[in-house]
Symmetry: C2
Subunit: 148 residues, 2 copies
């Protein structure tokens, strides 16, 4: 019987390593809560200090109806998850950030966030990005199956 | 300017393909809602008909305090997400299932779920799996950047 249990809830990554893995991840999943329950989308994001920035990259006309924005306008609590899966379960890990969302950003923070996103994702070059969401990290927890 | 927008909310995978991708995925993320907001964990799962089964693989003593189980006992609505990321954003896709959770399974359903999980994940062989969660799929939506 293996002692490694996949996706355990027991936090066992040290905070610095958890933060690094969050910062380096190319994709995360964002959970929000709306009138019909929890909602999940994958997001690209850039982490600066204790804030993760994400851009809505949909067409302008659709912004208002995006579930994640409607949800966050009603309930600012959200959750970001980054995880690593492979068939060798001794190498599984995840990092979760409990966050508070801000939908209204000042101009300088907006500019900085766009710079960070563009620096992390060259794919954004030339795009017109939609509204930015700032996710202020309140708590980071993480777990890994084996040693570093 | 690329016409491909990552992680768009516009559903564009046909239902059969979305269901197949969900069934084949090795890992999903499960969002639940608790008193302190949304909660996210990665999960292994097996899909049969319209139900996804997932096992808690933590130590027995911890079951009761697991956030996902406590959350689902209070609010059965949950959300499963499967996504594919790569640096070529023309190949991004995601599939989301809105689900209702059941924590009490009859003995035959329990046995079937364990068989399905073991068949999908040989890694579980020899484990003592914890409580099973049944996630009845209410709706599947999905999106992909490019054609199949």
């Amino acid at each position: 019987v293996s002692s490694h249990r996949p996706w355990s809830e027991v936090a066992s990554i040290d905070p610095a390593s958890a933060r690094r893995r969050l910062a380096e991840a190319r994709v995360a999943r964002l959970a929000t809560v709306g009138p019909s329950g929890p909602h999940l989308v994958p997001v690209c994001f850039a982490l600066a200090d204790d804030t993760a920035y994400s851009a809505v990259d949909d067409k302008p006309k659709r912004h208002r109806s995006l579930a994640r924005l409607a949800n966050l306008a009603g309930d600012r609590r959200a959750c970001l998850l980054v995880d690593h899966y492979e068939e060798n379960w001794n190498r599984l890990w995840w990092v979760r950030a409990d966050v508070w969302a801000r939908l209204e950003l000042g101009r300088s923070e907006q500019r900085r966030a766009l710079e960070l996103l563009l620096a992390k994702y060259p794919q954004y070059a030339g795009w017109e990005l939609g509204p930015l969401v700032a996710l202020d990290v309140e708590r980071i927890t993480g777990w890994q199956a084996g040693p570093d």
